[in-house]
């Protein structure tokens, strides 16, 4: 595979052809925040937190869906980008009802951690507080729409890794919502295998296991890679 060289924040670096900008940026130790990206899942390009500036183009590029190119000159933390990232997280916080103090994943939430890292101490936008239900019909998992950021990680994990495609989106715009099967209570779903991958990959407290609520168990989204690697290398064949 070919090698390309590019400039990342004024430093000359090299990358393999076909890699995404995000991979390369992270390999080089730059901390670029993401929410919808998760190693092992297809890219969605939806949260837009990973936008970077590239010299020669006026457009901002979402690093997760942009392949590296020879001679790129990338900046990841300009004043404008940091400002936009803060605004994006603020918009997410205003969109649904995120009350950390009563959340099962308080202290272990990616959205919360990101907001803290970006120094967000208040939200400038009017909170929408939509009237959304909590689906607690499943025996082991709970889906709380009020904490969902619509990153789609659960949908992709369910479809691409588990192969069940129980979860999907409904509605559009700010009315978008995660649904189970044909928008039915999770407990009545016949396609759900109860594997719990959605729980592990969900970055917030939107999907949690019942035991999480009491015990505060950490989510482990990185396990996807272990599954996928094992599947690819066929290490479980016997």
């Amino acid at each position: 595979m070919g090698v390309v060289t590019l400039t990342l924040n004024n430093q000359l670096i090299s990358a393999r052809e076909g890699q995404s900008l995000l991979e390369v940026i992270r390999e080089n130790g730059v901390d670029l925040p993401t929410l919808c990206h998760l190693d092992g899942l297809s890219e969605r390009g939806g949260c837009r937190l990973c936008v970077v500036e590239a010299e020669g183009t006026s457009r901002l590029l979402a690093a997760c869906v942009t392949p590296v190119q020879e001679g790129m000159n990338i900046r990841t933390h300009t004043e404008r980008l940091v400002r936009y990232r803060k605004m994006l997280v603020e918009l997410l916080l205003a969109e649904r009802t995120h009350v950390c103090s009563v959340c099962a994943v308080n202290g272990r939430c990616e959205l919360q951690a990101l907001a803290a890292r970006l120094g967000i101490d208040h939200v400038r936008y009017e909170p929408l507080h939509p009237d959304l239900p909590v689906d607690a019909s499943h025996g082991r998992f709970v889906l709380d729409h009020n904490r969902c950021i619509l990153c789609g990680r659960c949908v992709r994990a369910c479809d691409e890794v588990e192969g069940a495609h129980t979860l999907d989106f409904m509605g559009r715009g700010v009315q978008s919502r995660i649904i189970v099967d044909l928008d039915q209570p999770w407990g009545s779903s016949r396609s759900c295998t109860g594997c719990g991958k959605c729980v592990q990959v969900c970055p917030t407290g939107a999907i949690v296991a019942r035991e999480n609520i009491a015990g505060g168990v950490e989510k482990r989204p990185d396990f996807l890679l272990r599954i996928l690697e094992g599947r690819q290398k066929r290490i479980w064949r016997w």
Binding site: G45, R48, L49, L92, Y125
Partner: protein, 550 residues
Amino acid sequence: MNRTELQTMAEAERSRQQAFRCRFLCCAGTPCLSAGGGAVQQALKQAVAARNFEASVEVVGAGCMGPCSRGPLVRVIAENGEETLYERMTPEKAARLVEAHAAPGSTTLPEEWRIAEDSPFFSKQTKIVLSGSGRVDPERLESYVGEGGYSALAHALREMTPEEVCEEVVRSGLRGRGGAGYPTGVKWNLMRKAPGERKFVVANGDEGDPGAYMDRTLMESDPHRVLEGMALAAYAVGAEQGYVYVRGEYPLAAQRMERAIRAAERRGLLGHRIFESRFNFRIDIRIGAGAFVCGEETALMASIMGRRGQPVPRPPYPAQRGLWGAPTLINNVETFGNIPPIIQRGGTWYAGYGTEKSRGTKVFALAGKVSWTGLIEVPLGITLREIVFDIGGGIPGGRAFKAAQTGGPSGGCIPAAHLDTPMDYENLQALGSIMGSGGLIIMDDTSCMPDVAKFFMEFCMDESCGKCTPCRSGTVQMVRLLDRITGGRAVPEDLERLEDLCMLLKETSLCGLGQTAPNPVLSTLRHFREEYEAHIRERRCPAGVCDLGN
């Protein structure tokens, strides 16, 4: 069918038309039909039957004739070729029309029923795409063939290589009429060279902009022209399958396109071995479910493939990876409508219209506060003043022109100071607006610009697909801020917040919908900032539209 048979069909149709003593062409487009055009056509037919004129007088439904606000329209073509256009027809008037025209010398009609065909509304226009609209019967293939239809396709298949077809389009300087204005010939050449065994051609008829109906009219009035344009494109790029993606709100357009496809297939003008050549091309219709975002090409392709209509990041562009991974050419319906005349009369002829960088003509849907509203086709480079005051007949009620909104929710407003700017892609962009697909809404001094911006922002909020954060959540917050401004509840920081959000959406959104959604706000802020400030600081609406609660 071969070329000789096409000529025979055209001649037969022409002599059939000439055999009539007089022909009544009734507009059967959606605006005229909703104004009662169906009843008028029915009344004409009854009046003809009552006098036993069926053999010598023809009554047909034709396409859009232009001045939609004057509908229902009826065009009468006499034996000697003389044409008269009548406005605001009613069934009662229709009977008298038959008396006056089919039974000569019997009665004369009031002069005010007529529209003078030499009025500026018509004389300032140049009809290329719409040349057949209002003249051909969209329900009959023969009618289109009689006007020279499908001869460009026959000519291309017989005497031109795909490269030459592309070259002719390059020479014409035609740019995509969907809004972005990408050079059509360049796109075709890219597609032609793209490797792939299967290729697709898609006509984008998902026209969701408020106030715009160019594509609907073309599909309703002259469906075969779109099909011929698509077939020429397919030949040029090597595709064998095409789709017409019709907006769900356009049932009549879909129905006419469907009928046209079946008729063309039956005569061997579509399908296998077209004109007895080795070229095969099939077209199917896909009807949208009512999502503005499906006009965006990647979302449109997802919808055609039966998936959720959401955009995906580009690159890869459709010409590289489109429908089912195959290279796909997507052009607007109006773009395809330009192709047959370009092939027939040459790219150089077409390039003779318009300006240096924006060649040819553009169809606009003229709406709002002008005396004449309707569908117009003008050479690019025409000034806004000519459109508003000559073609549109000026602002009614003696009021003042305030602004023209172009490009729908992705566009912006052009204030009175720029009335003399030539309308082309670059100039409009420089003014902070866009050509867009051709919606043109004229506003007078009774319009409140923050209120207009709010209207378009609400539209974008409703139509956002919800995939990316800035568009999904940002549009809602922008609507809220605009609501505070127009409601007299805003503080000066709100304007700052609004501008910040504009830049965020513009720069970080995933697709064109989000990237251009702030344009109405940005352009009204640019040209009418004082109105926003009056709302915020003085709690006053200069246009007297907003209820500020005082």
